[in-house]
Symmetry: C2
Subunit: 199 residues, 2 copies
Amino acid sequence: MKKAAATRLHILQKAFELIYNQGYQTTSLDDILATTQVTKGAFYYHFKNKDEMGIAIIEEMLKPVITSGYIAPLEKEANPVELIYEMMQHLLLKNEFLKIELGCPAANFVQEMAPWHEQFSKVLSELTATWEKTIAESLEKGKRNGYIQKDVNSKQATIFILSGYWGIRNLGKLEKDTAIYKAYLKQLKHYLSSLSTAG
Amino acid sequence: MKKAAATRLHILQKAFELIYNQGYQTTSLDDILATTQVTKGAFYYHFKNKDEMGIAIIEEMLKPVITSGYIAPLEKEANPVELIYEMMQHLLLKNEFLKIELGCPAANFVQEMAPWHEQFSKVLSELTATWEKTIAESLEKGKRNGYIQKDVNSKQATIFILSGYWGIRNLGKLEKDTAIYKAYLKQLKHYLSSLSTAG
DNA sequence: AAAAAAACATACCAAGTGGTATGTTTTAAA
DNA sequence: TTTAAAACATACCACTTGGTATGTTTTTTT
């Protein structure tokens, strides 16, 4: 990698961690410069302003991770009930970057920025939309493969599933104990099996 | 009401609205002073600092509304499936103060403050805990009254229900269309009826 | 009515904010 | 090897932030 691209990436990575740990608005530019050891001149060479960096973090850090780690696995032919459950279990209990007390980076961005920054809202919408679409398609595939009951409304079910995830991430911030995740997962399984032909 | 108490209340009300509309951290003291027409001296007479006001808003604005409007109605003897569904429907579709693009005030506070402010975390935990407790008790009562299946884990189900609500509030910020609420409610009904003896 | 406390008003400030202007150094093209 | 553009560095700035110091006015108590 070229050196310039490396510093840009370095900024994005460290800033992402900082923002996940302290929030976007409360992470100051000086914070970022201090932990990256990058000067202001270098920063503003790579980004027009702080918000452009924020968008870049979503596009270049969040999006790839979610796409490769959580969306792609759903595109298998396996039982969606199991695919979705495993996705959630991995997100909640096995992912080592995510911390219960800090919630979900994407949800944090939405909560903090969506109502007031059109651009943030847009890229976050796209990210959510592709996730939503993939889950819904997985359920549809499940119908064809005989895993899912034909009368299930895939889009509705997807919205319900995603909302549960985003919500439990927020509840986790209060409880700070993975027991709440486990309780959620149990009921998610219950719900999923109510969509299943087997359940 | 005494005049001093009135200005204090006035600050709390207007500040609450401002914060709901723009977020806690991004609502500046000067914002609050400008819209309340209260001077800095008066503000700092009533509150030690901005955070103390934030806590007061949760304790004296949020808590009463949630308690009287949403917790109390759950304490009836009726079918919890219907009580819970009606609570959600009211919160999502009928409450005129809450705006879809702005989410849930309590959830916003949690998202924005919980990880970093112990005190905020504490009062918000308490608020959530009483809500949780009431829903769980409603389900338990439902078991005794024959509405809810005996093998339902009330605490788990409560966590699942609450997480769905908090999550759909966040998803709503992106979609800005109550269609997503309606989709959520349909699946909530489906889930609730899976707990019911009738469903 | 005098005194004291409560309630409010004004002026000020240190620290931090994102951002710019103007450099210097490094890299790569000619 | 010169030259120009890319990449980075430093100093500065206007503005906003929450908060304080020090008043004045209004209420209440005696």
